[in-house]
């Protein structure tokens, strides 16, 4: 097993970051959907290499998810349509939440919902659960209240979810995870900030699909899915750059990060922390490799704090490098 964190990180460097009231020992987070309940990859590596891990989203009701096939490898990416398979909040609280304290790093819960009320209810039931240090709102799934659109495609729907959750969640910061499927992310980011979000996560997967030409049918049972992996990195960096000119709250950048240079792109565009998702499937030691690259970059520039990198390439950066 690898050391808890690379030797390069155990040094004079300050890799800690703050996401609202949440302080992480390093800026590297495992993305939701790719780390399930935070324990599975612990069979082959030390999950403590992460500053935090984000759990797979929990909904109010149990969900069996989509039919298979659910996955398709595409050039530079992975198309998925899992369908939020999960146990529902009651089962999660009884059977899975008690195990979270043994995860050797901070745990961010993820909540998905189909109505404002569902978000508020599920998030409030997670508030104060030992081991959960923040709650991320997956406002990128279909919104029944708005007839099938995603909450995060619309500033007022996004604000409605964040406001309702903030009214009931008092103990931990709230992170709004935004969708890239918008022409301009700035109004959505501003709406989330104004509604009280403590941080933003962006980007979620991009809507996409693939057709099996032999069978003349979509590859995925669900027809369309979400695209992740390095193919979406330029889009993620762009949206982080844009949002970082519009809001002061910290941004967690994600989308196609595979190595340290990818992470640095996001940090320099304006992210305070970064998340690794699909790359875990290829390289479970990615947090170590990314951390060591960030440390090397800091040394090269004679910086001592990772926060110094945030937004350094973005002349219109509006956030705080605290």
């Amino acid at each position: 097993m690898e050391p808890m964190i690379g030797a390069a990180l155990e040094s004079d460097l300050d890799l800690s970051v703050e996401l609202g009231a949440l302080r992480l020992r390093n800026p590297i987070i495992a993305a939701s959907g790719c780390y399930n309940r935070g324990a599975e990859f612990g069979r082959i590596m030390d999950v403590g290499a992460y500053g935090a891990v984000t759990l797979k989203s929990v909904t109010r009701e149990p969900r069996l998810g989509n039919e298979m096939p659910r996955l398709l490898s595409t050039p530079g990416g992975l198309l998925n349509a899992i369908g939020l398979q999960g146990p529902g909040i009651a089962y999660f609280l009884e059977h899975e939440a008690p195990k979270l304290q043994s995860v050797p790093t901070a745990v961010i819960a993820s909540v998905a919902g189909f109505s404002v009320g569902e978000f508020a209810e599920v998030a409030s039931r997670m508030d104060g659960i030992p081991g959960i240090v923040a709650i991320e709102l997956d406002v990128s799934c279909p919104n029944v209240d708005a007839e099938g659109a995603c909450f995060a495609e619309d500033p007022s729907s996004t604000a409605a979810v964040v406001e309702a959750v903030k009214a009931r969640v008092t103990k931990v910061p709230i992170i709004a995870k935004l969708t890239p499927n918008v022409s301009d992310i700035k109004p959505v980011a501003r709406a989330a900030e104004a509604a009280g979000a403590d941080a933003l996560s962006l980007i979620n997967s991009l809507r996409g699909m693939s057709v099996d030409v032999d069978r003349a049918r979509p590859w995925l049972a669900n027809s369309s899915g979400g695209l992740t992996g390095p193919a979406i990195r330029p889009i993620g960096v762009y949206h982080v750059w844009q949002a970082a000119t519009a809001v002061k709250i910290p941004i967690i950048g994600m989308g196609g990060i595979e190595n340290g240079r990818d992470a640095l792109e996001y940090l320099m565009a304006g992210a305070t922390a970064i998340s690794i998702g699909t790359a875990n499937f290829r390289d479970p030691l990615a947090p170590l490799h990314v951390g060591e690259s960030i440390a090397a970059e800091l040394r090269k520039r004679s910086f001592t704090r990772v926060r110094s990198l945030t937004g350094m390439a973005n002349p219109d950066f509006a956030g705080v490098r605290a």
Binding site: K56, L64, G65, L71, P75
Partner: protein
């Protein structure tokens, strides 16, 4: 029982083209070789452009080496076939659960289709060591696609072969040939879905236990992404066991092939939904 995997840099030490489009690659990795059990697989990180890990079943394991027998089928398997000699590859393994063995003196029939032979070298070795009388029925489209026969015979197994075009062995399907044998105490199967489905239905109808190694598209190979599910009977040991949503109409449950399998009892798999 689910294995405890390792993340290792395994060195490629041998490469053999065993048939047109079929390769057998040998890797030095003492711990993966030592831990390998029947039906275990490894997940390989291929150098080059982005892709998730390639999962491949372990064919043989001896001393400090294991081999992978695979068909060149798609970009990733083609890339693996071209890996440079002695290049270390990042391999996670062994992964997955394993076949159950019957008691000494029982009879086992293995039904394999084409490259579905892969999980059976380790199984045959175990069965013969446990003094289980074992027959392997191995089918393929033609003699050029029949691999693994010599290695299985070298273990001492009775191997019956058949092909769709009659170019080797009997002109029949593996299941047709298996049906001609006296009913065994257990069936094992791996291969194309139509063969597995027919085998499962035959075994279920005859009341014979049958274990099948399943395949699906894997994402993480570690049980985190829920991409590689198969529908199985609700309440079966490998079912997830979550409560039902009030509006959920489906009567089955999903299990992950990568960690809850790859081996499932045919009675648990829902072929007709």
């Amino acid at each position: 029982m689910v294995s405890t995997p390792l993340l290792e840099a395994a060195e490629l030490i041998s490469r053999e083209r065993v048939a047109p489009g079929f390769w057998c690659l040998g890797f030095r990795s003492p711990e993966i070789a030592r831990r390998a059990r029947p039906a275990h697989y490894v997940a390989i990180d291929l150098p080059g452009t982005f892709s998730v890990r390639l999962p491949l079943g372990i064919w043989t394991a001896r001393d400090d080496t294991f081999t992978l027998l695979f068909r060149e089928w798609g970009e990733r398997t083609t890339r693996l076939a071209c890996i440079a000699d002695h290049e270390p590859l990042s391999i996670i393994g062994p992964l997955g659960n394993e076949f159950s063995l019957p008691d000494t003196g029982k009879r086992a029939v293995i039904v394999a289709g084409g490259i579905g032979v892969v999980p059976f070298w380790l199984l045959v070795r175990e069965l013969l060591a446990a003094k289980v009388r074992t027959t392997v029925v191995l089918g393929a489209r033609s003699k050029h696609m029949l691999v693994g026969v010599d290695e299985l015979r070298a273990l001492g197994a009775e191997v019956k072969i058949c092909t769709d075009d009659g170019s080797a062995g009997t002109r029949a399907t593996a299941l047709d040939l298996a049906r001609e044998l006296a009913p065994p105490d257990i069936f094992y199967g791996c291969g194309p879905p139509p063969l597995l489905r027919a085998l499962g239905e035959h075994a279920n109808a005859a009341g014979i236990p049958c274990q099948i190694s399943m395949e699906e598209t894997f994402g993480c190979s570690m049980g985190t992404c829920w991409g590689c599910v198969v529908p199985i009977r609700r309440g079966s040991p490998q079912a997830v066991g979550y409560p039902r949503a009030t509006n959920e109409k489906r009567e089955y449950d999903f299990a992950r092939v990568c960690v809850d399998g790859t081996v499932f009892w045919s009675r648990e798999i829902l072929w007709n939904r």
